[in-house]
């Protein structure tokens, strides 16, 4: 696997390394705001852990700042945005998964799952109709049998589940 932390022949780009600490700082600050007026028992942990996290992030930020100031690194985000074609696939895959979750309450479990699988495979480059539809249908049918007919979980039901209920139950 290639070293993703730097461009070939260039300096390591460390901007992306600040995303997780940034999320941590955001959560810690938000935590402090929500516990501000609570009794000490309710905020002791948030202050202890949040304070520790802020301290660690501060040390980490200083470490990066020193490297950047010395000219040994840049604040680029190449680590997260390398391979543009994979990046496009990744974003479309996430979009199709969000679509699957959004459709679930409207269409019901089985058709949403079928469409979610179909969209994900299209995003990944499956174009042949037989494996495309066959796999999506197979997964949706297997999950219907397992989660609705057999385990009777509370996945949202739609017209397909209503139609199949007299045959398989659920």
């Amino acid at each position: 696997m290639s070293d993703l932390s730097s461009r070939p022949g260039g300096k390591p780009s460390l901007g992306a390394d600040l995303v997780i600490p940034g999320l941590g700082v955001g959560l810690a600050v938000y935590f402090f705001i929500t516990v501000d007026e609570l009794p000490w028992e309710a905020k002791a942990n948030a202050l202890a852990i949040g304070g520790l996290l802020l301290l660690l992030v501060a040390v980490f930020a200083v470490r990066i700042a020193i490297k950047v100031a010395r000219g040994e690194a840049t604040l680029g985000f190449e680590k997260l945005f390398d391979q543009p074609s994979a990046q496009r696939k990744r974003l479309w895959l996430l979009a199709s998964l969000i679509g699957f979750i959004a459709l679930l309450p409207w269409l019901g479990f089985t058709p949403s799952l079928f469409l979610g699988m179909l969209a994900s495979m299209l995003v990944m480059g499956v174009r042949e109709p037989k494996p495309l539809i066959g796999t999506a249908l197979g997964v949706a049918a297997a999950c219907y049998l397992m989660f609705i007919a057999l385990l009777d979980t509370n996945f949202p039901r739609g017209p397909v589940e209503a139609l199949l209920a007299p045959l398989f139950g659920g």
């Binding site: 993703l4 932390s5 992306a16 390394d17 995303v19 997780i20 999320l23 941590g24 959560l27 810690a28 938000y30 935590f31 929500t34 516990v35 609570l38 009794p39 028992e41 309710a42 905020k43 002791a44 942990n45 948030a46 202890a48 852990i49 949040g50 996290l53 660690l56 992030v57 040390v59 980490f60 470490r63 997260l80 391979q83 994979a86 696939k89 990744r90 895959l93 996430l94 998964l97 969000i98 699957f100 979750i101 679930l104 799952l113 979610g116 699988m117 994900s120 495979m121 990944m124 480059g125 494996p131 796999t135 997964v139 397992m146 989660f147 385990l151 979980t153 509370n154 996945f155 949202p156």
Partner: protein
């Protein structure tokens, strides 16, 4: 406290009675272990809807069989393709692949299977023998000690497992903070819930697990067309399983080496965060050190296959020891198991040995039985193993993402949790890409509520005085160890830099 022989006998018979679960789980574990980029914890996550509905001892037996078999399966692509199925099998490549190139691939596979099973079995039996003592350790742990144990566990994971200690510590603290989202224990006031009622009970563990491991891995997998390259695909079509008997003879002649390297795996496995990768390399180095033929290592030496494979499976029982004895998972697969057990309302830790001895001992008895049944399963399957790497990524990624998102619904049956899994998938992806250790985040999330509970209990006892955390002897010893474990890598780095600078200066002079 001694052994309850009747209980052990009952548990052994019960575990053998689960053969119908152990054998398919073993096959599944071997397949996923052999699939690079896929592992036991991902499989267990995908199968959560199944294990959550099982009776708890059956679910644990199933998970243990998958776990142990995946450690064994990881060696198969190491030997045949020079691609480790998992981190623990990386050291196996050093001598396994040269054996294959010499035409001894089948013998190397058999060596790997026998070493894995024997090493794993010996380590498990030793753990069972030591359980009455390990159970006592937990009784000395009160709230003050537990606060330090949790911090020490997270620190060790950051120091040993993460490539960058500071990133590992940040990941652990970030996880702890996520873990305490929700209402507080005393006043039930919501904290950092972003206005979502679904987060009042805290952040659910299953979606976090699914997001951080399965979805993030799938998002990374997108970058490849196939899991293995063309060369690897050609090899996987050509494998045979002749000379199996020869491999068995080689293994039996080296039984003592298998035994002691398995114990190296057990000891390293007990340390939270150390895991199979470290154990297998340490065992390989130690084996080479004490070998009569060290010059043959790296050139396709059978001992170089035995040592890492035996240690890799010796780790399996060691990883579960801190989880069972003090309720702190030693690694990510143990964390998945802990989540399933907690889902059934069972609290792991010292009380488990008195309240549910069937589970506390049953886990290790089931592991021993799994290893016994595994050797009978694995040898006939040998020649088909390497073909699992031929599944194209364009099918794997949709299957992993969609099925794991479905699994996220299983714990609480909220559609919200499916979205949460996606969010943690993106966080996990960023963490993977920037080398923030995702296991540290996950273990932080798991231990967050426990940490809060123990810290609060300690502070209430002392009426808010934080110095109570320095009031216990065991706690203070752990504090010292924690500080030493933080300073040691820094000191080593400083020494290394100094040596490099001296060498450079000497060279210039």
């Amino acid at each position: 406290m001694g052994w309850d022989w009747q209980l052990l006998l009952d548990l052994t018979l019960q575990s053998f009675g689960y053969w119908w679960v152990i054998i398919p789980a073993t096959i599944l574990g071997i397949v996923v272990g052999a699939l690079p980029g896929f592992n036991a914890q991902n499989t267990l996550i995908i199968l959560l809807p199944l294990t959550l509905t099982m009776e708890v001892s059956l679910a644990l037996t199933f998970m243990i069989a998958v776990y142990c078999a995946s450690h064994l399966g990881g060696g198969i692509p190491s030997i045949l393709l020079n691609i480790p199925g998992n981190g623990g099998a990386a050291a196996t490549c050093i001598d396994g692949y040269p054996m294959t190139k010499k035409g001894l691939g089948q013998q190397a596979l058999v060596l790997s299977f026998v070493a894995s099973v024997w090493g794993g079995l010996i380590a498990t039996l030793l753990t069972i023998a030591a359980l009455p003592i390990l159970a006592q350790i937990g009784l000395y742990m009160r709230s003050v000690e537990m606060v330090v144990v949790i911090l020490f566990g997270l620190t060790l994971i950051a120091v040993i497992a993460a490539r960058d200690m500071l990133k590992g510590l940040i990941a652990g603290a970030f996880g702890l903070l996520i873990g305490i989202i929700g209402t507080d224990h005393i006043y039930s006031t919501p904290r950092a819930t972003f206005g979502f009622l679904e987060l009042y009970d805290g952040v659910p563990l299953v979606p976090v697990l699914i997001g951080l491991f399965a979805i993030s891995e799938a998002l990374i997998m997108i970058e490849e067309e196939m899991i293995v390259g063309e060369g690897g695909r050609a090899h996987s079509h050509a494998v045979r399983w002749e000379d199996t008997v020869d491999g068995l003879k080689m293994s039996l002649a080296r039984w003592w080496q298998i035994t002691w390297t398995g114990l190296v795996g057990l000891i390293i496995g007990i340390i939270p965060g150390a895991g199979a990768s470290i154990a297998s390399f340490v065992a390989y180095q130690q084996s080479r050190l004490f070998s009569k033929t060290p010059h043959l290592y790296g050139k396709g030496h059978p001992e170089g296959v035995i040592a890492p494979e035996s240690a890799n499976n010796g780790v399996t029982s060691g990883t579960l020891v801190p989880m069972m004895a003090i309720g702190v998972p030693g690694g990510s697969t143990a964390a998945v198991m802990m989540i399933v057990v907690q889902y059934h309302g069972i609290v792991l830790g010292p009380r488990l040995f008195s309240e549910r001895p069937d589970l506390a001992y049953g886990v290790f008895v089931a592991m021993a039985v799994c290893y016994i049944l595994m050797i009978l399963t694995i040898l006939p399957l040998a020649r088909y193993m390497s073909r699992v790497v031929l599944i194209p990524v364009k099918y794997l990624v949709p299957l992993i993402t969609v099925l794991t998102i479905v699994a996220a619904f299983a714990e609480r049956e909220y559609v919200f949790d499916m979205g949460l899994a996606l969010i943690f998938g993106v966080i996990g992806y960023i963490a993977h890409k920037t080398q923030f250790h995702v296991t540290s985040i996950l273990i932080g999330v798991i231990l967050g509520p426990l940490f809060e509970q123990y810290l609060l209990r300690s502070l209430r006892l002392s009426q808010g005085d934080p110095l109570i955390l320095l009031s216990s002897t065991i706690g203070n010893v752990l504090w010292v160890l924690l500080v030493v474990s933080l300073l040691l890598p820094l000191w080593r780095d400083w020494q290394q830099r100094k040596q490099e600078a001296d060498a450079k200066f000497g060279g210039e002079a």
